[in-house]
């Protein structure tokens, strides 16, 4: 009966496997689309268009100022009322997670872009480049390198926070661990394994990002 109960693992490992699959896919789509939406939000916030700026600022403040749990319920119950098509539970959960993450990503990217000396933009423009060329070739590549650690951190937060989607009945790691708690009347073991799984995922990601970051830094030799 210790913590590493082989019998327990043999009997229930499929719950954990399936849960891990769900957590990974929700996180993956959350990160990918959350980043895309975040880029758009940050560019809106940095633009000179007052409407775009206002919308983006309001969105970011609202998302940062309300609990993810509330946002999740709003998406889960609210979206189906307005959408002309059906969305699966897992899709709704993913949408809630990505909409939340996008606000944080937007602020990270905005800070990264603002951290680049304005002389860089001026030099690019003085060479005849358009604003968007300068962004694409000069500003964003430099900003990206600076924000990678913060962005990686946000991805890890997203994976961990995704556990909250279990409350709307999505069978992720957390949900399945809780199910096993009910089946086996043993609260500790399933939650302990769930923790290990989350840790393996986030630790692997953080190591991978570390390698990626070093690769990028290697490009500029000094610094």
């Amino acid at each position: 009966m210790g913590i590493f109960d082989l019998e327990f693992i043999a009997q229930y490992y499929k719950y954990f496997l399936r849960g891990t699959g769900v957590t990974l896919s929700v996180s993956f789509f959350g990160v990918v689309f959350g980043t895309m939406v975040g880029v758009i939000l940050s560019l809106m916030k940095l633009s000179n268009n007052k409407l775009a700026k206002g919308l983006s600022t309001a969105y970011i403040e609202l998302v940062r100022g309300t609990p993810l749990l509330v946002q999740l319920f709003i998406v889960y119950y609210g979206f189906p009322m307005f959408l002309p098509f059906e969305m699966s539970r897992i899709a709704l959960g993913t949408v809630a997670v990505l909409l939340n993450s996008a606000a944080y990503v937007a602020e990270i990217i905005r800070a990264g872009i603002l951290s680049i000396d304005r002389g860089q933009m001026e030099a690019a423009r003085s060479l005849g480049m358009t604003h968007s060329m300068a962004m694409r070739f000069i500003i964003i590549p430099q900003a990206f390198k600076n924000i990678l650690p913060a962005l990686g951190n946000e991805f890890i937060v997203l994976i961990k926070e995704s556990a909250i989607i279990s409350v709307i009945g999505i069978h992720d790691i957390m949900y399945n661990a809780d199910t096993l708690r009910g089946i086996t009347y043993r609260p500790f073991i399933p939650l302990f394994y769930a923790a290990i799984l989350y840790f393996i995922i986030t630790f692997t990601l953080s190591k991978l990002l570390g390698i990626f970051e070093r690769r990028l830094r290697a490009g500029d030799q000094y610094n």
Binding site: E122, A123, A124, R125, T130, F137, G219, Y222
Partner: protein, 241 residues
């Protein structure tokens, strides 16, 4: 070549440029001097619209660049600019710094752009630095590369904004040498600088600015030897000791 008509620039309440009228002819080397805060850098930056003039008109080769209907990017291609802080792109090699705009903006092929860049690098004796990154260069090397980066776009005018002010003293000479060579080749140049030696040697005209106005202008010989305006006299006395 460049006509500046009633140029005004305000930063909020601050009136930085007051009714500037100037004509810069082809082949001229115009040196702009004046105390700090006199508006000389702002004047230069208005010429390629890095600062948007509050009012007035700037006409380059017959085309108004302050006219919103004209594509400012096309006009900027004709004006190279060199900055006090060099502003090389740190994530690009020296060669990429030079070829990026010719390839992306002018549509040169990579090979053409590389060949031209190497010719320019050879001219300033830095061809062996083609594949290094800017942060491995000295200040003087950076600024010389910033100059040929602007030249790679084959501009009609070169604007210099205090190009030697951020350099260690022993590196000023190598940068001025490149600029003098450009001037001798007949490049039209507008130079904001404190290097009076440069102004005397290659300047065709010196403009003295103070408090947002052009106080006095003339050939370097006249202006330095025989300044008329009391402010010019005062300024020259302070810097020429």
């Amino acid at each position: 070549m460049i006509n500046i008509i009633n140029l005004n620039k305000k930063f909020g309440e601050l009136h930085v440029l007051k009714d500037i009228n100037q004509t810069i002819e082809e082949g001229e080397v115009v040196v702009v001097i004046g105390p700090s805060g006199s508006g000389k850098s702002t004047f230069l930056r208005c010429l390629n619209l890095l600062e948007e003039p509050t009012s007035g008109e700037i006409i380059l080769e017959g085309v108004s660049i302050t006219d919103k209907h004209n594509d400012v990017n096309r006009q900027r291609e004709k004006m190279g600019m060199v900055f006090q802080q060099f502003n090389l792109f740190p994530h690009k090699t020296v060669l990429e710094n030079i070829t990026l705009a010719p390839v992306q903006v002018k549509g040169l092929t990579k090979e053409e752009a590389d060949r031209k860049a190497m010719t320019l690098l050879r001219r300033i004796g830095l061809e062996e630095k083609a594949n290094t990154y800017p942060n491995q260069l000295s200040g003087g090397q950076k600024q010389r590369i910033a100059i040929i980066r602007a030249l790679a776009m084959e501009p009609d005018v070169m604007l210099f904004d205090e190009p030697t002010s951020a350099l260690d003293p022993e590196m000023v000479g190598e940068v001025l040498e490149v600029m003098k060579e450009l001037a001798r080749d007949g490049m039209t140049m507008v130079v904001v600088t404190h290097e009076m030696g440069f102004a005397k040697e290659v300047g065709s005209r010196v403009i003295f600015m103070d408090e947002g106005r052009i106080m006095e202008e003339g050939t370097p010989k006249d202006l330095f030897a025989n300044p008329q305006n009391p402010r010019t006299q005062d300024f020259l006395r302070k810097i020429l000791v």
